[in-house]
Structure formats: C-alpha cells, structure tokens
Symmetry: C2
Subunit: 705 residues, 2 copies
C-alpha cells in the first residue's frame, strides 16, 4: 500500500520532468509554399495567360466601362474627372450598410465591411481600378475580384495609400471625384490635402447632386420600409427624456448650442427606438439635432406609427421633454438653418462620424468638432443594460452549447457543412426568448476557410465540417435585451500538435487579457499587448483588433476598441468589450477565441491612495475545448482562471439548460467544464526544480523497489 | 539517513503548502494618517496660524512684490499685465537648464525639472502665486514653497490646469504675459486659445524684449564659457558629414528646403561635439540650420578653438560637406532671412521642441511642423554607440557594485548619510575610464525620502542610511562612450514583509517588461502596462513613466518613452530605454528598480510570414538584492529571467572586476548573483496541486516517524 502510493507519486514526478513528449521536438512548423494558381483553384491568378478568375469573382468589365462614361461626361459636373473614389460607407458612415448603399461591393465584387475602390479614367474608355482593404479581406478579395482590379493590401509595407496612388497615377490638373455624403471629414481632408500638396493642380471634387455608381446600378434595391421597434425601460434602463437631459448637460459643458447626431446607433440609442433598415444592426435611417430646448428626429415619417407616436409623446410642442419629427431628407437644410441662426453660436458635430456633406454646411466659426457625447455614454452600460446583456449571453450560450454538442454527434457522419451548420445554429438561437435575428453574418469556417478572418460561407466556398479540420464558429444574435458575439474554435477529430500549440497561445492571450488589472480611464491601446504577448513570444501574430465594444440590442461593433487611444476608454465600470485574439495559418486553419467581457471593480489586496482598480468579468459563457489545450504551456494563474471560468460556465448555464429541459446538453456541459486538476499537476510540477524531483526520484527508487 | 532526506523534503513541502507565513494574514497595509504639520516637521502647513514653513522653503515675499511692480509697469510693454507665466525651460526647451535659466526655481523656490509658475497682479501690489508640478515633486514642493505659493497638483482630479485657473482668476480683458523664448508652440497655442475661448477679451501677450524675472534676479549667473569637446568616430560611429547627408535625405522626403534644429542634444549629436553649458547633460548652447547645400551652427564663437575648427573643417566655404559658424544670437534673424528667401519654399521646424519665438518667425505657408528627424535617428544607436553604451555600463556597474559592497560594511557603523554615500559613489565612478561627470543629481534616499520620487538630498533633508530603512540609489554617470542611469533599492537590515512584497511586485514588473516580445515600430504606450500589471493586480501603482531613452554621452532623458504613442517608437533594433517601475509609500519608503535595456531581435520558435520580432536585452548589470525578493510571488518565467540575468551579471562584470584587481568586489558579486535554485523549489512547488502535496505529506509522516 505504501509503496503503491510512492509509485504513483514517482510516476507523476517522472511525467512532470519530461513534460509533453510531443511538443518539444518538432521545431519550426513547415509553411506551405506559394504555388501558382491554377484552374479550379479558389483564388485568381492575373499573371496567368489567360488570367485565371475563380467562379466567386464578379465580372466588372461592362460596369467599369459604363462608370467611366459617367466620369468622362455627366450632368453633375462640368468637364470630366480622371478618378472617382467609391467609399464603402453610407450617409451615416455605418459599418453594416443596406444593400442599396453597397456601392463599393457592387462595383468591384468585393463584399466585406472594409474597403475603398478607386477607378481612374484615361479619357478613352480605359483606366485602372483598385480596391484598398485590410488583412481581414486579403484572401476574400483574391476570390471575389476579377482581373480588372488591383488589390491594394492596406497597411502592408510598400503598398501606396489611396492618395499616394492617385498622385502617381494622375497627370497635372487631375480631378478626383467623390460623393461627399459618403466620406468622413478627416478622410475628405486627407484626400484634399494630399492632392493639393502634390503642387500640380490636382483637386478633389465633391459630387453631391448624384452618385455615378448609382447611375450604372440597374437593379438597385428600393429604400427600406421596415417598421420601428420601441424599447421600454425594462431594456434600456433610462428614458429618452433622461438621456436628452444628460446630453444637454454635456452640451453645456462644451458650450454647444446644438448637437447634430448622424450615427444610426447613436440616434437609436438616444430615443430608445430600434429598426431594421440595415442588415444585422437594429437601426433605422435617421438623424437627430438637439438644442437646449428642442430635439428633432429626421426620419422616414411613414414609419411614425401610433406606437412610435406614443413612445415619443408626439404632439407635445413646447418644453424640453418634447421631440419633433421631420422628414429624413430635410436634415441638410436644418443644419443650414442652424448655421444661419444668430442665436446658435456653436454646433457640435462628431469629429469621427460626420460626413463631409454635413460638415461643410457648418461655418468654421460655429464648429465644435469633438467625439459625440452619445458615443461615450452608450459604451458605459447601466445596471439594466448590464443585466440584459448577461441574460442574453446566457440564452445565447444555451444555443451555442447545443450546437457544439450536436456537431460532435453529426460531424463524423459527414453531412454537415459550414452553411448547414450555421443555419442550424441560427435555428437553435431563434428558439431562445427575445431573439431578433443575427448580429452579423455567421463566420462558419472549416479548415483553410478559417484563415479568412471575416469569412462568410457562400455556395462557392462552402466546405464540409469534418473530423480532420479545425472548425471556427464566430456568430452572434440580436436579442431585445442585448447583442451577442462569440467565437469558439473546435476540432472533432485529432488536432495536430501545431494546431493545439497555436490554440493554446490564443487562449493564453485571452486569459492574459482577462487577468489584467488597470486604472479607471485606461484606453484600449494600453491593454492590447497583453492579448498578443503569448503569440509574439512564439513569433506569431494576428492581423486584426483584439476586441470591440458592443451594443445593448444595437450595433455589434461600437467603441471602445482595444486599439483605441482617444475618445472612449475601456477603463469604465459597465463597459462591455470582446476579447478575441486569434491565429491564422494561411491555407490551413484559423483559430479565434472571442469572449465578451464586462469591466468591473477588481478585488485587490490593497487600494493605493484609496483608489479602485478595474478588471474584466467574462460575460460569454461557452466552454473552451480541452483537447485543443496544451496545459503544459500555461502558467498557474492561467490554469486557475480557466478552471474558474469553466466553473462559472457550469454554474450559470447549467441551471438554464435544466430550466429549458435540455438535460442532454447539460450533461455535455458538465463533461466539458470539468476541472483540469490532473493537468494542473503536470504543469505546476514543471516549475519544480529538477534537483527536487531527482531527490524524490531517488527516494522513490529506495522505497519502492 | 533516508529518513533525514525525507524530513528535509517534507519540511520543504509543508513550507510550500503554507506559503510565506507572514504575508498572507496581514491584510491591508496600515497607512499613516495625515497629521497636521507642526514646527520641526519637514513640510509646510499654510492652514496653521501662523503658517508653519519648514527651513527648506524659500522666502519669496519680497521677490513677488518686485515682480508685481514689473507686471504693473515695464519698458517692455504698454499698460499692465494681470498675470505672468514663468515656464521652467530655457530657449531650447531643455530639461536640465543652466542656473541662469532657472527662473521658475528662482522665483518660487521649487527646484526639480518640472513645474510652471504663474503670478497674478491685482494692481495694488498683491495677487496670487501658484506653481503646477507633477506627482514626482509633490512632497518636494511642500518642503520648498513658502505660503505665498499654491501648489497645483498637476493631473490630479479637481486640480485646474494653468489656463482654467487663469480664466477663473482674471477679470474681463485680463492680459497674461509670457516670454515667447521659453514656451513651446503647442503650449503657447493652448494658452492663447483657452484665453480667447473664454470670450471676455483675455489675451496672451508675448513679452520678448526682456524677462521680468531676470529683472528682479540680482545675483544671476553669467553665461557659460565652458569649452567644447570633440567626439571621434570611435565614440560616434558616424561622422557629422554622414549625419548631415542622412538629414538631407529626410529633408528631401519631406520636401523641406531648410531644417531648424533648436534642441541642444540634437545639435550636439549632429556635429559630434559636446559641451558643459548646462548641468549633467554634455551639451552647449547652439542652434543649427541645414539646407540642401549649407549647414550653419549658431553658437558662442569664442568656443571655436583650433581643435573645434579642425573637427568641423572650418575654412571650407562651399560644398555640401561644409559647415559655417555664426554667433548664437543671430539665429532669429537667420530664420527671418530664410522666411524671406523665395528660394526656400518649406522650413522644417520640430513641432515638439521649438519655441514660439522661433516658430513665429516662419510664415504658415512655409512651415513643415513635424518631429525633428534627428530625434528618431539619434534614438536608434549604431553598432559603435551600442558597444560604447554597453562598455560604459560595465564600468558603471563596477562602481555601483563596489558602492553596494561598501555600504553593507559601512552602514551598520552609522556614519553614512545620503549625501556622504552619494559622494562616495561619485568618487568610485570617477576612477573609471572616460568618466566625465554625473548624468543627473544622484537620488540617494533613505527611508521616507525614497518616496520623494525625484528626491535630491540637501543639508536640510539629509538622513543617515541605516539598517532599519529601505535605501534607494538612482544615479548615473557621463562617460565618453555612453550615458548611464541605474536605480537599485536595498535594505541593510531586516526589511518588513510589506517592503519585500512591494519590492517583489516592482521587480516582477521590470521582468515582465523584459519578457515582452513585440513588433517593429511598436510605440511605448503599448508596452507600458506590462511593467505596471503586477502592482495593479495588488491595487498599487507608481506615478511616473516606466522608462525613457538615453543618449550616447548625451542627455539622460531622450525619446522614446514608454508612455509615447507618436514620434519615436521603442520597436527599433538598437533603441536604448530604461525599464524602471517603482512603488512609493508616502512617508515610509520608496522602491525603484531601473535597468537599461537595448532592443534586439527576439529568438522566437516561429517567424510569422518571415517577420522578425523584437525584445529587450539588459544593459545595466547590477544585482537585485535577494533578501528583498519574495520568490513565492514570482512565476517560473520570471525566476528563470532573474537567474539568467544574475548569470549575465557575474559573467560580464566579474572579469572586469578581476581586470581592475577588485577581487573583494568580485567575491561580493559572486555571492550576490548566485542562482536562486532553493527558492525556485519553493515557488515551483506552490504550483503543485494540494492533493499531490498532501500525498507527499502523508507519505512523509509514515516514513519519517
């Protein structure tokens, strides 16, 4: 009996000394060589003769021909323009934009949230076309662009900026057209300044009477007529009257007599209304102008139903708690009226989110250019919103766990694809209370598709989910009490050692971020390195942000961001932000682990000068997959966090699963959130000095033989 | 024999389970209550009747009376001014300034590198006086200011900025005077804009014909006549001709026809000359203007000796490798000439380091306002400079180790004070090759003085170094091959558990920073949290930067900084930056551990997309004190780094000590850089799960009884 105990301990000790026998010896992971693209491949090859274009690419030859005709001669301007910039945005600089506003995607074929197209016109029907996008969309661009288009890999070394390229492409006196309704103030100024600085008479021309892309868009969708939704106090925690009062306080602090709100989510948040004019974000086309004693909403007045009328207490005509409704397209003239009103000394416009079209109506002497006060107020959730977001994530986790359990069973059968999987997840989510739709198109990505950071499966790219691939599912829902956005990465067979190693580094990055303690007011940029550090230390990285704020039944992306150094800090109690490091092995697999966090007060041993410190509380409660984790790479603090997290998951999601009668899912959850006690021994003991272990080994050899 | 081995292991194991018996139970460290200041105290009490002013404070009553006379009526301006701003800087916005330029210190009594004074004038001989300074100088200010002065604790909540205070103090039409030679462009604009924005006719008035403080400064020192020193290629690694060629390339990239350099260290670096016109920084009063085919140095021409003449190859009158020398005070007229020269389209002035006096001579159409190219070039040391800085730190470590060994012996005798200790260290340093003087006034601080972050011992504050106090020594030297700046904190008796705990957190912060791996071009702000995280997690913090660049026999503070997010990145191979977290317990003790680091390529397992990653290599090689370290708080990576560091110290400094025949110091070094193998056992084993330990304990109890 005694010697059996000793043997057990000795076995443990020897195991601990050797560590994981697989991980140490495999050296540098082999990288796939770049091969020339060939027919049947999923990416274009414009150097081949003839060029190879995959079926996922859009044929834009005729569209570009017609666009260049408009650039050469149009009713909107005299003469011709030599280049036309086509931004991705709408008149509210939205991220998710309605189909009728997706001009860049229409003209180039490149879908995705980020990217700007530029078409040049050589005067004889020809010219160049280029689209700038960031690393999230590089692979996607190669799959969607035809060879009329140059892909400009934004932020990569040696790649010109839009204006650098324009300056080099255009001759002296070249005119660059742009729709001022679709461009921010800073972008307009950047373009205009750079063209002027070239010193050869190049100019930026605002073309506001019509849009040249719209003119060649034959089957453009009509404007949305979707109804508005009223959000009650049980969801918002604050009436629109109180919000307007808060805004007016901020205006007084800034000496602003008027505030123009142009961001759709800011308007929706302010008046506690939602809509569905753009996909995924529950917003509606509207502007708002607030002054000391008026508040006017500019929107499609057909949407003002009795319900909305009552919610806004319309009919009330005077007093600070009155709101008026005006037609959407009267906004610019209303801004002009403010500009001309001698009683209005200063007009606050959001420096980051106002279009040049609106900005140019306000004379410089009246401008207050600063971050909108709504941006910051909206990011710090009140108690009702906090609880709503947490509740939404509990129900969302039920669907996500149900989905992962189902996949474990269904994937080996071979019938599940990226699309059918995502569809089933959407079904599961839709059965949850207060579900209102997806918060963004699900990224359901198997194997190499996982390396396309903002991948969205299409019929052309759809792959089966298999037992030999890594599977990444990044998906979220809109619920009346909150917006969700969660990513988990799993393997239904035997992951490679390299996949486990990189998964573990990503997980360590997420945990490192959760372990940060920081001061009130801290900006995201100070906290970004923590999530990247484990990957960097292995010479690996990811080319996207570490995380973003998210709305209370609103936009899935809002301030703050981990990269941010101004505007909205992360360091405020009640701020929600995703923590989502990743790793992407081009052509092989992608790993991302995205967990929503809420900023709360930290429980510290001391409190220097009576100050409180902040930390992150997990809001997303979905297990990490044990088989993907190499516990011996993690330190004790990380392992403790992981065990605590899984305990929180089982104790929070378990009861909800039981309440919903999903006992099978609860069993699955219990199995997948067990404490990693055994693994912790192996990891912890790695820290024990070899002398100590040799002593134990020697002792054991004495007593056990 | 066997049971003895078991007992030993069991004792270790039991110790490990319980952890440090002192540290766990004492809860929140008791903070000293704020007591009303009383006679004999070291800080002022302006609420007492009569106010209590310590002997370290300066009596400024008569000076302020005379200054206000000048504000009421002066030959430099018509009418009167209601406030006068007295910046800390000189005409080069230097950090260390010559005695004759220390106007803010002279008028207020507050010495130290940071602080701005403002004096108001109520027209009848009275008014207020306030000085703004940052947390490094809060305690010092209470010791040096008399009760004429309000201490404005900059950046603390509720403390007005200078302009907020001026706006609230002055009536409509109030005029605020300032010497434009002593203020940066941005500070001038901040003051001017805020006064204008008040909308009551307040204005900022540049008073350039004379300085009102100088007029009441009876015994002001004359200008320096210190000779120049030439730096050969063996120290600089690059000739001034090559540097000017590099600068001209940057000017071409920026389309600049002229570059005006106003920072003393930038001019010194450019022409490979040094001087001693200001304390501690080996610079001389000079400006430089570079154009495509001229380079002119503006300085006291009496300093141009034959040696300097030969170094600069004066006499050469044409060609791009020629430099001309002009009188120092002709700079402004030279800038005016450039501004009037139609062949000069654009003049590059450093946005951060140019005075408003120079800036205002360049018309807006000709301005290029950007960081000086020298700032960035100077921060990335070449191979010769790298080796020089490393060599200087080896010799500097010899002196520092010798000092610490001597203190261990001398302190118990009771005869060493902060001042006599620092003097002895300076003696030891001065015996090292190429020693040129201190790089800043030594911070030799015993007990509570250590909590005064930028403390400098004076006769009034001098304390003995004892066996019952924490002792902090932050000191550096100027050597012809490099500048040093090192801080170590030690205890010559028995430190308290709280002192050890906070020391360990500071050390963990430093090590965390050294363990960071990051990308090329990374700015300091992304790396700042790593050094603060261990303290934050305990609810503790420090109120100063994490570290700064330092020159090659130049200024002890230069770009980059860990707080910086623009201008000069940390992420460049060859960048030197100090890593210096700290902790300060007001009235009790201070801890700071400052270790110079060089940025080098990291040795990573992988290299994502062929990229290289960067990390920090220690350049300062002085041991950390073992008795101050609670090893059980540290993780395995931190302990490994610490052991590796101490091995590097013994292997690098040991041979130099032997070469210098300092065998006793070498013995001390060997003793103080031993591997913490035993301690690592205790720490590592904390990670072992308690089940494992209970099993060992059970086993031991069986065999050892």
């Amino acid at each position: 009996m005694h010697s059996a105990v000793i043997l057990l301990i000795c076995a443990g000790a020897v195991f601990l000394v050797s560590g994981d026998p697989v991980s140490e010896g495999d050296g540098v992971h082999p990288r796939s060589p770049r091969v020339k693209r060939a027919p049947g491949d999923s990416e274009r090859d414009c150097t081949a003769t003839p060029p190879y274009i995959p079926p996922t690419a859009k044929d834009t030859t005729d569209l570009l021909r017609r666009l260049r005709q408009g650039m050469q001669s149009s009713a909107y301007f005299a003469g011709s323009i030599q280049a036309y910039i086509i931004p991705a945005g709408d008149a509210h600089l939205s991220e998710y934009i309605s189909e009728r506003d997706q001009r860049r995607a229409f003209i180039s074929g490149l879908s995705g949230s980020s990217g700007t197209a530029v078409v040049t016109n050589d005067g004889s029907g020809g010219g160049k076309a280029a689209v700038w996008t960031d690393s999230r969309y590089f692979l996607q661009a190669e799959q969607q662009l035809d060879c009329n288009w140059i892909l400009m890999r934004q932020y990569e070394e040696g790649v010109p900026t839009i204006v650098e390229w324009l300056v080099s492409e255009l001759g002296p006196g070249g005119r660059v057209g742009i729709d001022p309704h679709l461009v921010s103030i800073s972008t307009w100024q950047e373009y205009a300044d750079a063209l002027e600085a070239d010193g050869t008479g190049k100019t930026l021309l605002g073309i506001s009477d019509g849009n040249l892309v719209d003119d060649v868009w034959d089957d453009r969708a009509p404007p949305s007529t979707a109804p508005l939704i009223t959000q009650g106090l049980n969801y918002t925690g604050k009436s629109w009257e109180d919000k307007i009062t808060d805004i007016r306080e901020k205006m007084t602090e800034q000496n602003a007599d008027a505030l123009v709100l142009t961001k759709l989510d800011e308007v929706a948040w302010l008046v506690n209304l939602r809509g569905s004019d753009v996909p995924f974000n529950p917003v509606f086309f509207a502007y708002a102008i607030v002054t000391a004693n008026t508040a006017v909403l500019y929107l499609d007045t057909n949407k003002v139903t009795d319900d909305v009328r009552s919610h806004l207490r319309l009919g009330c005509t005077t007093g600070v708690s009155c709101v008026q409704v005006e037609a959407y397209d009267t906004l610019l003239s209303a801004v002009e009226a403010l500009a001309a009103d001698s009683g209005i000394r200063k007009i606050w416009i959001s420096s980051a989110s106002t279009t040049y079209a609106v900005f140019s109506k306000v004379p410089e002497s009246k401008q207050i250019l600063d971050a909108s006060p709504v941006m910051k107020m909206k990011s710090k959730k009140n108690a009702v919103e906090q609880q709503g977001l947490k509740n939404a994530h509990i129900r969302d986790a039920v669907a996500k766990c149900e989905y992962l359990m189902w996949l474990e069973d269904a994937v080996p059968g071979g019938s599940v694809t990226e699309i059918s999987g995502a569809d089933y997840l959407q079904q599961l989510r839709s059965r949850q209370r207060d579900y209102m739709g997806l918060s963004f198109p699900a990224i359901s990505a198997s194997g190499p598709n996982g390396a396309v950071v903002h991948y969205r499966p299409s019929e052309e790219t759809n792959r089966p989910i298999t037992t030999s691939d890594v599977y990444l599912i990044d998906s979220g829902g809109q619920y009346k009490d909150g917006t969700t956005d969660v990513t988990r990465t799993v393997h239904f067979g035997q992951p490679t050692d390299y996949q486990r190693e990189t998964y573990t580094l990503v997980l360590m990055g997420a945990i490192n971020e959760f372990l940060q303690v920081f001061k009130q007011g801290t900006f995201g940029i100070r906290l970004d390195q923590a999530a990247r550090a484990p990957l960097f230390s292995y010479g690996l990285e990811y080319g996207h942000g570490t995380g973003h704020g998210l709305g209370s039944f609103l936009n899935v992306h809002e301030d703050p961001y981990f990269g941010g150094s101004a505007g909205v800090p992360v360091g405020e109690v009640g701020t929600f932000i995703t923590i989502e490091p990743g790793y992407y092995e081009d052509g092989q697999f992608g790993i991302r682990l995205e967990t929503l966090a809420m900023v709360k007060e930290a429980d510290t041993k001391y409190n220097f000068n009576g100050r409180t410190y902040l930390t992150f509380e997990p809001v997303t409660l979905v297990p990490f997959q044990e088989k993907m984790i190499k516990f011996d790479m993690m330190n004790e603090n990380q392992l403790t966090w992981l065990n605590d997290y899984h305990r929180m998951v089982r104790e929070t999601i378990g009861p909800e699963l039981q309440r919903q009668g999903k006992n099978d899912v609860n069993d699955w959850l219990m199995k997948n959130t067990q404490s990693f006690e055994t693994s912790r021994i192996s990891s912890g003991a790695k820290a024990v000095s070899s002398i100590f272990l040799l002593a134990i080994a020697a002792m054991c050899s004495v007593f056990s033989t």
